[in-house]
Symmetry: C2
């Protein structure tokens, strides 16, 4: 078993243990936490924490509880985001507010956040290190909230620039990956400048992931893609592809009008809309532009990783993980 697989196993076992401990009263509060944690998910974030700790030859056991805390934080944010976004499905199952109620989702999300802090606080690291870890975690948590707020703001804004969009995904998605890595690095004993490098690695990779998500929503192989293709188009989600199209269509009033008609259509056939908007994307070549932009962030990220003075073998584990993620088709 390679290092990554070993770490994954430790994370899975740790989360199973947490689930067992959550089997308590009041069940209305704790059962949704078990429900969400039992669904799995890729559990990338805790893996990044452990790999980052390992990168600096740290004792990975010390990073396990904080890594699980980060996974719980991620799940807390999904529970609350799903309420705010009216998302009824998560990981092919009803979201918490759909299965139970909004109130249950608010409160069990709150409890999940507290449990996240509990796990982080329970790390058997020197208390001075704990203070450092908590500081990173608190900052990260606020950035994620800021990102979600910007995402909600964008829904009501008619004009969103690419720069604003990238800032939003940096806050909402990339900062947690970056924070997860930095926490692992700090527990692993990384020097300050290397902790910053791994943070920048995570930030850039995180932006690349989200851009890849935007692309996959439209261009994934439906066979391999887990969800409805074109969901972002149907929902008029302001993705990189849509924003870039509006930017480019300024020079082409005909395409601009066509795109606006689809975006503002009060009624439409979903399949036709997805096909038509995809055709506009193709015409404007935004897939390629998005891929180039994605690769730019990806390469930036990898460069930060390369700069870190660690063994090639250990860097390779991280590189392979992010490569698999960026090459994923779902």
């Amino acid at each position: 078993m390679n290092t990554t697989d070993q770490f994954q196993k430790q994370i899975d076992e740790g989360l199973e243990k947490i689930c067992r401990e959550l089997n308590k009263q009041p069940a209305e509060l704790y059962r949704p936490l078990m429900y969400v944690l039992e669904q799995g998910g890729k559990r990338i974030r805790p893996l990044l924490t452990l790999l980052a700790c390992n990168l600096f030859d740290g004792d990975v056991r010390l990073a396990l509880n904080p890594s699980l805390g980060i996974e719980l934080f991620h799940n807390f944010s999904l529970i609350h985001d799903d309420i705010m976004d009216n998302a009824t499905v998560r990981r092919n199952k009803p979201s918490v507010h759909e299965k139970w109620s909004k109130n249950i989702a608010i409160l069990s999300g709150d409890a999940m956040l507290v449990k996240a802090y509990e796990l982080i606080s329970s790390a058997e690291i020197t208390p001075a290190l704990l203070q450092q870890v908590l500081k990173i975690f608190n900052q990260t948590a606020l950035l994620v909230c800021e990102g979600q707020q910007l995402d909600m703001n964008f829904e009501k804004q008619s004009v969103v620039s690419i720069a604003q969009y990238v800032k939003m995904i940096e806050l909402k998605t990339a900062s947690l990956l970056a924070g997860a890595l930095k926490i692992g690095a700090v527990i692993g004993g990384a020097r300050g400048e290397d902790a910053e490098r791994i943070y920048s690695f995570g930030k850039n990779i995180g932006i690349a992931f989200q851009l890849q998500d935007d692309i996959l929503d439209v261009y994934a192989d439906q066979e391999k893609f887990g969800k409805q293709k074109g969901g972002d188009i149907i929902a008029n989600k302001k993705t990189f592809l849509l924003l870039k199209s509006f930017e480019l269509a300024k020079l082409n009033p005909y395409k601009k009008e066509e795109l606006e008609q689809w975006v503002h259509a009060p009624q439409f056939n979903a399949k036709h809309k997805v096909e038509a908007v995809t055709a506009i994307y193709d015409f404007l070549n935004v897939r390629k532009i998005a891929q180039e932009e994605m690769m730019r962030y990806y390469t930036n990220g990898i460069n930060y990783l390369n700069e870190i003075p660690a063994t090639e073998n250990k860097k390779k584990e991280l590189r392979m993980l992010v490569e698999a993620l960026i090459r994923r088709e779902a």
Copy 2:
């Protein structure tokens, strides 16, 4: 200026500073936090933390940030509870979800909880002490969530026993007062058994406060009472008075039916309902029973305080504060 007034001033100044720092972007996220903190409130919880620290001759400056964190936690719980309870007014102003939206209230509540942890984590205490404080805080936060869950469960339950009700208010209200005191005591250097005593003091006093709230809602002097009298009766809130009345009315089928008719009335004149239910309370003598029960918890609490080996002067500050609260008329 006496000690309590001095501490109150430090708390007010600390919260003002936090408000100034929250004046940042995205405003949609942070402005609700400022809004809530600027409204004031009695700020009892941070005061309890500082008085408890002082009781054990601790350096109160070290307890200030954690005490402010506890106040932020309290405000976070109010923001989220108000969504869950559909409460449109808080401290005579629109609640956050009413003034902005439910989504804003969910997310800014989350940010408030993170800020609470940030304040607690920033205490300039030994890291070992910080771990202890975080442990108390995490446990307290979960108990508060459990209490809110039970409170929501009770709304749907037809039968709630007095014991269940007291357990709920212990979790929802009293555990935060107890936690605030214990955190102050621990920072102040209290021995383990004295930290437990102050916790028990807070728990009992907290239950007494809530029982007093239940009584005041019906029997307060309207002139001095800040809100609509009888609000609990109108909303069929399962308070001590109502639950005790149902218990006693078992022996009196006529009164039981009368009470049930008012509770289940689909339409009613609010003034008439308040008068009629109050008359049933009077007939069953539940005000006196509630007052005796309240005084029992109050006295229990004070006894725990008395057992603590601290100077009489410092105990007196705590005793005067809780006495003023229990004798309040609004």
